[in-house]
Amino acid sequence: MQALFDTRRHPWLVWLGFAMIGLALTLLPFALAQVGTTWVRIANYAMLYVLLALGLNIVVGFAGLLDLGYIAFYAVGAYTYALLASPHFNLHLPFWVILPIGAAIAALFGVLLGAPTLKLRGDYLAIVTLGFGEIIRIFLNNLSRPVNLTNGPIGIARIDPFSFDGFSFGTYDTLFGLEFSAPIKYYYLLVVVALVIIVVNVRLQNSRVGRAWEAIREDEVAARAMGINTRNLKLLAFAMGASFGGVAGGMFSAIQGFISPESFVLVESIMVVAMVVLGGMGNIWGVVLGALLLSFVPEILRWTVEPAQQALFGRLLVEPEVIRMLLFGLALVLVMHFRPAGLLPSAVRKREMAERSPTPAGHPL
């Protein structure tokens, strides 16, 4: 068995594996559509979370800066798209113009957040980023007066779907006898974007910049002594993470067709953090796994727990939403206790998290 799966002896196995994953990813939406279109939508939201988790992984996993306000960048991207492609300002720019703008604005916000907080580390940074996320949400909620910029808590509706040269992602099409509904089209787009971002991440991790981030994460003082410009690199981590969040936000806006500040609450930030932590900070595949797990398992629970409760007690005792959140909380606590480096730990993290300091308390990160 060992010899058969030895990829070094059989390099074609790797390609076979890729082909199988590719095939599975291609066929998945049709299989899900058989169960119900809802499941295709759930898959789409799962992919959005994958994008978010990958973006946050740059900040938390690579550079070691715990960001609890990451959803703010998602919000910036989402609102950028919504404002530039909806009847709100009567602007209808194409998505390939807006997405880069959204990414750039999100990156700018990332630098804005990063610049004053560079000196902070660990837990302080976490709190400041959390506050930043809340500030963005409060502004989105209140910027309907005196000039109606964001439409306040009501949100922005009738956002344009992506369309390209007459081909719209928002409509229903039939091709080769197969039915392509809007969610299925978005699914393929999301998969492509996710793959691109994964490739960018993999290349980034092993690049000069990626190694510099790792050095900063491990020991900032030593990294600086080695000639690494810690300030610029941390800013770069913030900006890159934020721009990925911005792209994901733009796509969310288009897929959903409607956004309001409700979608960008603190809990969402923590959910993304939970995905990164559960999967394994710094490990790209771990993060993808974490995002998929924490997106799908609660949905599966939603579909099983609710009927089960109805059958057992005759009424709904615990809302599925609550179970979902309890799961997130438990996941964070249990992972930190039993697998502090995550389900699929990155090599460095594993070593680092296993190392317990001899002092009982007060040992810095």
């Binding site: 837990d123 964070l332 930190m336 190392e355 308390a361």
Partner: protein, 327 residues
């Protein structure tokens, strides 16, 4: 009505509650360098338990003050138990782990407590029964209610009691010793784990009282109230210098004042119609209209702005000593 004095009174009342909550953060941070994210939820649970008791006893005909006291009396032990189990189950096993681990655990605990509370008390906003008749007095053109006076008095007493405990009792000495150096404190015969547990329990008890005060002051309680209150209290603790007990008290009161005065004046200050040149350019300003950029609905932003400013310009806080590694 004098806006300034009125906002000072409101700010002092809210600020003293922040101060009591901030003490919980600062004590725990001082002793194990952990931002106990879940402390806000402890405060929330205190308010919720008190709400249930007061709600149940309100029609019983007991004197209102007794009802509130019984409510508080039940909330305090419940919160102490929550605080203790939190430390014992979630944080103690992670003693000595990298700093990010207990912090992430704390976030998890906070989510867990919040949603357990949701299961018990529903997601509705609960209206605290207004059983204590509040009388209003006027001082130099500003109104102050009996409830506000009671809150101020209780908070001052609590802070005084805590100061006595920390600076005048053997337990307090042990706490300060552990904060300075846990290893040496252990060598001196101090049971470090017991002292840390005691710190959590005391912080939780203070939080419970603060929760009841907050609930009676604003008249409402909800399962989400803990996170924003916790954040503000944490900002207060940082403003005063985290780990520093008098600092937390000062920070809380200052933050309350900043928030109240900010909310009171920001509307006027950012009314562009006040500024001659701009006013002529804006149509809304004709006939004495207003063009207010930021109104009092931005009140919650102040705490965060204060937090960021303090961390950027004076990370050690107002009363904290300069410690290189802390920030």
């Amino acid at each position: 009505m004098d806006t300034f004095l009125q906002q000072v009174i409101n700010g002092l009342t809210a600020g003293s509650v922040y101060a009591v909550v901030a003490l919980g953060y600062t004590m725990v941070y001082g002793i194990i360098q952990l931002i106990n994210f879940a402390h806000g939820e402890v405060v929330m649970i205190g308010a919720m338990v008190a709400f249930s008791i007061i709600h149940a006893l309100a029609p019983s005909g007991l004197p209102p003050l007794a009802v509130v006291l019984i409510g508080t009396g039940c909330a305090v032990p419940v919160c102490m138990l929550v605080g203790y189990s939190m430390e014992r189950l979630a944080y103690r096993p992670l003693r000595g782990a990298p700093r990010l681990a207990p912090l992430i655990t704390a976030i998890g605990v906070s989510i867990l407590l919040q949603h357990l509370a949701l299961m018990v008390w529903s997601r509705n906003i609960l209206a605290f029964p207004q059983i204590i008749e509040s009388r209003t007095y006027f001082v130099a053109g500003a109104a102050i209610t009996t409830v506000q006076m009671a809150i101020l008095a209780i908070c001052v007493c609590l802070m005084g009691a805590l100061a006595l405990l920390v600076y005048r009792t053997p337990l307090g000495t042990a706490m300060r010793a552990t904060a300075q150096n846990p290893q040496v404190a252990g060598l001196m015969g101090i049971d470090v784990n017991r002292v840390i547990a005691a710190t959590f329990v005391i912080g939780a008890a203070l939080g419970a009282v603060a929760g009841v005060l907050f609930g009676t002051y604003y008249g409402i309680a909800q399962y989400t109230m803990g996170s924003i209150l916790g954040l503000k209290a944490f900002s207060a603790a940082v403003l005063g210098g985290i780990g520093n007990i008098p600092g937390a008290m000062l920070g809380g009161v200052l933050l309350g004042l900043v928030e109240a005065l900010g909310a009171g004046y920001i509307g006027d200050l950012t009314d562009l119609c006040q500024y001659g040149l701009l006013a002529r350019a804006i149509e809304a300003c004709d006939d004495g209209g207003h063009f207010i950029l930021f109104g009092s609905n931005y009140q919650d932003v102040f705490a965060f702005v204060v937090l960021i400013l303090v961390l950027v310009f004076r990370p050690s806080g107002l009363l904290g000593e300069r410690v290189g590694d802390r920030a």
